[in-house]
């Protein structure tokens, strides 16, 4: 029961049109506050900001190709308890998908927030963004959007996670604003996908419109390119970790700093087992291990940490790539997590962030399922 509306764009200023829309949501009191990416006044960086006054909308830029953190964590801080007001969050599709997972994990509530998304064209890694943004970050955003929609390739390239992401459009959102397939006058299609989204769009007085004819084909073509990149990445990664020695080499630079866990939007445990004393072994224990193998790489428990994290969160992994972004030693963490998550999610017929109604795989069970994992019968030697 979604409906499409028209967002006017003056002089091709897409970011300005989005700002005007969010400004109107505040000034018409449709929402009390808007969480949105905003250029910091003191530096060429974009951070989530909770904007409560319409006159503070100036630096807001949901299209900046900058992704310093997955804002689902920020949104869940705000949605952890009811505030008694409606508010809106402008999030990337991977942030919305992570937020949906956090709601399922009881880390946030969906009832007061209106989720707004815009067709996501991806983002650079942090260092690359600073370089790309140069002296005039808002102008760089406009340039980025124009060139990406025109199908031009960019230098530097987008973050690896974004290059392999097939979700320019999130499966869930209250309001989704399209960039692909805009009409001749440059107006953007605004899709109200839920009752709350419809209320907001009506309060803003956006005129109903037909969905642009060229839109679906443009999105499909974009997604097809991303899927191809993703599948190449899957194949490359599977080959790179196929064996303990290869995996150890892959993670050889890991210093057990756990930044990837801190940056992960769906790793929600208040106290991770790896920061407790559980694996702070007795000193003599290390000697014993070293004696058994001849030499022991320190710190220990590196693969143990990554494999355990995969067991704990891979069914909720949205592939946002913040783990790689946070790694001080440039280990391609995202590639391993997305690749393995693909298999664990498929095993349970699940897709992280797809639907709030689908239970997290490890929170439920059926009495008759997975007979193939029970028993010790030898597998046939065929093949």
């Amino acid at each position: 029961m979604s409906s499409t509306h028209r967002l006017e764009v003056k002089n091709g200023d897409i970011v300005g049109a989005l700002r005007t829309l969010l400004q109107a949501a505040l000034s018409k009191e449709a929402v009390r506050a808007v969480l949105a990416p905003r250029h910091l006044p003191m530096k060429a960086m974009v951070m989530p900001a909770l904007v409560a006054r319409a006159d503070q909308m100036d630096g807001v830029d949901p299209l900046a190709p900058c992704f310093p953190m997955n804002a689902a964590r920020i949104a869940s801080r705000l949605a952890r308890k009811p505030m008694g007001v409606r508010w809106a969050a402008v999030l990337r599709p991977c942030e919305i998908r992570a937020f949906v997972e956090l709601v399922k994990l009881k880390q946030a509530r969906m009832d007061e927030v209106i989720l707004i998304s815009v067709d996501c064209l991806g983002a650079f890694q942090n260092k690359d963004y600073i370089r790309f943004a140069g002296a005039d970050p808002p102008a760089a955003t406009v340039e980025f959007v124009r060139r990406t929609l025109a199908g031009e390739s960019l230098q530097p390239e987008l973050a690896p996670a974004c290059r392999a992401c097939e979700f320019p459009v999130p499966p869930q959102a209250d309001v989704h604003i399209g960039l692909f397939g805009g009409d001749a006058e440059g107006a953007l299609p605004v899709e109200a996908r839920s009752a709350a989204g419809r209320e907001l769009v009506d309060a803003l007085g956006l005129a109903p419109a037909e969905a642009p004819a060229a839109r679906q084909a443009a999105v499909d073509a974009f997604v097809a390119r991303r899927r191809a990149t993703r599948d190449e990445m899957f194949a490359r990664t599977l080959a790179a970790i196929d064996g303990i020695d290869k995996t150890a080499a892959y993670f050889a630079n890991c210093i057990n700093c756990y930044n990837c866990r801190v940056a992960c939007p769906v790793c929600y445990c208040k106290e991770c087992v790896f920061v407790t004393d559980v694996f702070n072994h007795e000193p003599a224990q290390y000697l014993e291990w070293a004696g058994r193998k001849g030499a022991l790489k320190m710190p220990t428990d590196t693969l143990f940490y990554h494999l355990t994290r995969l067991a704990h969160m891979s069914t909720a992994c949205v592939g946002c790539g913040q783990c790689s972004n946070a790694c001080p030693n440039d280990i391609p963490v995202m590639e391993v997590f997305r690749t393995v998550a693909r298999h664990t999610q498929q095993a349970f017929g699940y897709e992280a962030g797809r639907n709030l109604e689908e239970a997290s795989p490890l929170s439920v069970f059926n009495e008759s399922e997975f007979p193939e994992v029970v028993g010790i019968s030898r597998r046939s030697a065929a093949g």
């Binding site: 693969l303 494999l307 067991a311 597998r379």
Partner: protein, 140 residues
């Protein structure tokens, strides 16, 4: 590979498989000494990290064994365990662990004979598979 003796870590539930192991003992059934048993109250409490730690730390195989479906002392712990084993069997093979290194069985409290049979069969299978790569790796 003649001399290879696999190490098996078995997480067995208090109410069924541990009792079956006890019965195998009191019945004077013999089975290989390769298994190191860890008694847990229910297979539903076996966190995947226990299995991962065992496999990285020297086990050639891990067995999780509990009550038959419908017999769980805690109603459904074994169903939860089955999902976690399914999960691990998706993760571990990507990193080169043969799927056969992780096994889930249901062995009831009166199945002492079956317990001994399964231990014998596991040892045969793991000997055929050879030592786990993780035992040879210096960096884990």
């Amino acid at each position: 590979m003649q001399d290879f003796e696999p190490t098996i870590v078995a997480f067995v539930c208090n109410w069924c498989t541990y009792t079956a192991a006890d019965l195998a003992g009191t019945s004077r059934l013999s089975y290989p000494k390769n298994v190191r048993m860890i008694r847990v109250m229910c297979t539903g409490m076996v966190d995947p990290q226990y299995v991962i730690k065992a496999l990285l730390q020297g086990a050639d195989g891990v067995l999780v064994s509990g009550c038959h479906p419908g017999d769980c002392h805690y109603i459904n712990g074994n169903f939860k365990a089955r999902r976690r084993i399914k999960l691990l069997k998706e993760i571990l093979p990507r990193f080169g662990f043969e799927e056969e290194r992780l096994r889930l069985t249901w062995i009831g409290a009166s199945d002492g004979i079956r317990f001994a049979e399964i231990m014998r069969e596991l040892v045969v299978q793991l000997k055929a598979l050879g030592p786990s790569q993780a035992n040879l790796a210096m960096a884990i």
